[in-house]
Symmetry: C2
Subunit: 326 residues, 2 copies
């Protein structure tokens, strides 16, 4: 089946464009009327690099691909607007398989209020999705970069960490899950395979006055390092304050990994880390909680550079990226 | 080398963002202030599908990738704004190779006034580029879709056709070029490997009142079919009016292909086909010529559906896509 047929079949399954999107899939380009400021991010999602095709359904691949792309908009505090998807189709993926991937993309689009406004289809040696996502804000000053963390700011974190890293360990060694309470192992693998972009929390943090923000794709240590570098400041994290997802400690103990290493070095939790002026922390916690997500203080911004991860025993943990854990 | 290093090195080589782009490469997302309407298109450019890596320099791969993506904006009559590139890096491409590809992308960005505002880097089995390009217009009505062709409109074409298809034949059989005048074979292969997006011509056609427009990536017959389908009209093309690139007739004769088949079935010429009301044809020709590109009338829009390609002897040629020629 050709590109045109596949995109036409996708279009049939989508709600008609409206509002900001004047023309969706099917022409040389989509036409939108943005108004205000836009945040635009591109994100690749490639079999063997970002996921493994045999680990989840094709629909789950599409779901996670778009969720991860939208997480970058959450990290800007942008309101999700449009998504454009390029589907690289390997020789062994048939039309139904393509539609299953795209159904996952469409489901996350619908769940987040994102319009699938355009796409491209190409042959590819492996299943590969590329996303361009566009978010909106009233003005550029309303969007939160990585570069505004200021000494004295408090560091706040949404949700819980370590779940995706523990989920990855469980996929490799499912027997570890048998000693966990009912549903916990499934919850951890879902954290890895079906993360939710923290869009509402990101918007709430932006509105509450966050000065810098990032989503945790590479791991707390590595991503805090990106904020430190962009802001020209030092980020000091108290790891004893970091909430762990349920079951992370047990999985860590069973595998000999440290729970705090999983939480700080494991990536793909897609929680948000933000720097907030001290006098705005209360409002930020209230707003993010109202948006349905927990927010806790985990440290502070200091003068200097780099990242300091303080363990509960007073020692320091080396900030590491997720790739080193795999 | 990691994604961050590569994007940082790319950023060093780019002019600083300005104007509409408030924040470029290096954060979770780029920040722009569009104003008016935007045209957004995504385009994959994959080794073994859209190009073959051994056929041209890595810089030429980057050049053509972005040019082809921008051609979709030309077809909307949009002014080029921002480009976002995802680079899929195969195991045998080193850092210098990546930078050579990106240098080609950056050269076309600079030549067209496009800001490279974001990117992603991933491992990939083959060299693969994915582009998202954003063009601008004062209002959505200023952008030209495929869907407005109206019976009575005249069909106009920029430039010359058949060059890219003849260039492909020459790459496979370089000995055919020896009988051509000096420089002609090189010109034909350049048409294939380094096409120029018709941005100025597209903008001129939009301003002159074009009612439908498309860029010829799949071939005149196939792309006219897309306009016919989107417009609910019949496109009648007089092939004797279609200008052929220099050398196309000779290459066609030497290979046994028909010159008109190359011009109508060969794709990748990236010229523009537009439907223009009869009373605007003169103004369109004047405006496009002033923009540095020839524009000729090659047919008309009629009631009905589909495409009719009339050959000079009065017969009809079957509209075919480029894939069938390869």
């Amino acid at each position: 089946m050709g590109e045109f047929d596949l995109l036409a079949r996708l279009r049939e399954r989508l709600p008609p464009p409206g509002g900001r999107v004047r023309l969706g899939i099917g022409d040389d380009a989509a036409v939108t009327v943005p108004g205000g400021a836009t945040a635009t991010s591109v994100d690749a999602f490639v079999d063997g690099v970002h996921f493994r095709r045999n680990r989840q359904s094709l629909e789950a691949v599409g779901r996670k691909g778009l969720s991860v792309a939208l997480s970058d908009l959450a990290a800007m505090g942008a309101s999700p607007g449009e998504a454009y998807v390029t589907l690289g189709v390997p020789p062994d993926l048939d039309e139904d398989g393509c539609l299953e991937v795209l159904a996952g993309v469409a489901a996350i689009a619908a769940a987040t209020g994102t319009v699938l406004a355009g796409g491209d289809v190409t042959r590819s040696p492996v299943l590969a999705l590329d996303f361009a996502v566009v978010g909106h804000a009233a003005a550029p000053e309303d969007l939160v970069t990585r570069g505004g963390a200021t000494p004295g700011d408090r560091l706040v974190l949404t949700g819980e960490l370590g779940g995706a890293a523990a989920g990855l360990l469980l996929l490799d060694r499912p027997e570890l899950g048998r000693s966990l309470p009912d549903g916990v192992a499934g919850g951890l693998t879902r954290r890895l395979l079906d993360p939710a972009p923290r869009l509402a929390a990101g918007a709430a943090l932006a509105a509450a006055g966050a000065r810098a923000m990032i989503d945790l794709s590479d791991g707390l240590g590595a991503d805090a390092g990106h904020v430190a570098a962009a802001s020209g400041a030092r980020l000091v994290v108290d790891l004893s304050s970091v909430p762990l997802a349920e079951g992370v400690a047990a999985v860590a103990a069973a595998t000999g990994a440290g729970a705090l290493e999983l939480a700080s070095g494991g990536g793909e939790d897609y929680e948000l880390l933000a720097a907030v002026p001290p006098q705005r922390v209360g409002a930020a916690i209230e707003a993010v909680t109202a948006a349905g997500t927990a927010l806790v203080e985990i440290g502070e911004v200091a003068a200097g550079e780099g990242v300091e991860l303080r363990s509960p025993d007073g020692g320091l943990i080396e900030p590491r990226g997720f790739d080193q854990l795999r």
